[in-house]
């Protein structure tokens, strides 16, 4: 999150200040890219570039606070991912490569593991294995940092449904991890 200076920075970016835009980009791009790795794994980078192009173009029209801005950016990301999926519909679906899936998360030093980019990639691959609606909701809650109401509006579902989907996702994750751990 950018924090209290968000309004100022957004205004500067809207006025064309590249440095201010870079602050917004640094804050949100990792989450956008990770969300797209889950929902659009075969074209995450390309779609991310499209998202930022659209955000740049629409910046002057956006009105709202920081949570609203995050919601808007992820709404754009979701729309572009859906477009990309439509365009790719005639091409074979690329399965999540199994070698990317974690054997098991690093148990002895979770903090270090969490900071590893590799650990992040593996965690995202694991989440991407969930049923698509669960994977999307878990990613929007955890990675994008949106609350239930924001996610519900974004995916066009009721808040209760969002909670159930996320809850199921967590249980399924626990099951997969338990299987991997050989329990």
């Amino acid at each position: 999150m950018v924090g209290p200076s968000f309004g100022e920075i957004l205004a500067a970016a809207r006025a064309g200040d590249e440095q201010a835009f870079a602050v917004l980009w640094r804050d949100l791009n990792p989450a956008v890219l990770r969300y797209l790795r889950v929902v659009s794994p075969s074209s995450a980078e390309d779609v991310t570039a499209e998202v930022w192009l659209e955000v740049c173009r629409g910046l002057g029209r956006f009105r709202g606070d920081e949570p609203g801005f995050r919601s808007w950016v992820f709404t754009v990301a979701r729309m572009r991912a859906i477009d990309a999926a439509r365009q790719a519909a005639c091409r074979p679906v690329r399965p999540v490569p199994t070698e990317l899936l974690p054997e098991r998360p690093a148990r002895d030093d979770p903090a270090e593991a969490a900071l590893e980019a590799q650990a992040t990639a593996e965690a995202l691959a694991l989440i991407a294995e969930l049923p698509p609606d669960q994977a999307e909701v878990v990613t929007l809650r955890v990675v994008a940092g949106l609350d239930v109401a924001q996610v519900a509006e974004l995916v066009g579902r009721r808040p209760g449904t969002v909670r159930v989907l996320a809850h199921r996702g967590l249980r399924r994750l626990a099951q997969r991890l338990a299987e991997r751990a050989g329990v």
Binding site: G16, W25, N29, C56, A123, V164, R171, L173, A174
Partner: protein, 314 residues
Amino acid sequence: MAPGDALDDEMRRHSWNSVPPLDAETAERMLDGALDPQDAPPGYRDVVWVLAAASAPSPADPSAEAAARATFRSARRPVDTPRRTSVLSKLLGAKVLAALALGTASVGTAAAAATGTLPDPAQAAVHRVIPAAPSADQAEGAGDAGSAAKAGGPAADAVGLCRAYAAGRGGEQGGKLDATAFEQLTEAAGSVDIDAYCANVTAGARAGSAARAGGKTDADLAGQCRSWLAAEEQDRTATLGQAALDRLTAAAGGADSIAAYCAALVGQAPADQGPGGATSTRPTTAKAPESPGGDAPGRDAGPSRPAPTPTPRG
């Protein structure tokens, strides 16, 4: 169907006997990233780690940031400044550079801009371009007419195009303007009338050659220009004399171009300066508008990268 029923149903279908239950409140805390792995319920510690890894801070990615910044610049351009203006400023930038290398003429162009001789978009472009021009001049070490010719490539093109355009006047400009080169000319002139644009370009070039031709001619023409500019239109023949007026017309390339020509030639010299004032400004012209900090060569070295990435903000 209530959420609880849905969960029970799913648990039956998958026979998740190995997965312990998870209460809704704990699930929300996990999703919010507010649950420490130590506090995770049995069987969910690994899940908390996976979620933490998925949302871990990301290292900086300078190349991706550079690409995003480029996207920002390109996406903002049509909103903030019309693209046409940037093409115009580029061409005028070259023009100003060439004029600067030629000596007095650059200040003439600046003066033309300052006195409002140039059409509005050109005026704005010149104001933007002029502060950047001197450093380029210094970097090239241009101070003589020889290097001026090199530096003047694009501007020379514009002058040539304008002359070709003028040569076809009354004939087939329609056909001429179809050619690629003339498309460039149209683009460079932008919303400005091509005739007006060309009048300025060619007047600038003539003023440049006049300045190069020698101090005497320069001073004479400059003096006549001052008189011409000072006199009311109907008094000009009387003030200057027909011979001087003819000479001025010839130098400017036509009676219509005298105003632009004279503004370019003498505009920079203060009115109270004596004869030779125009020539005396020449040496200072080459180095006067030095950029602060003396970082000019690095800054304007065209093909090299722009300034390094600014320091990140907290």
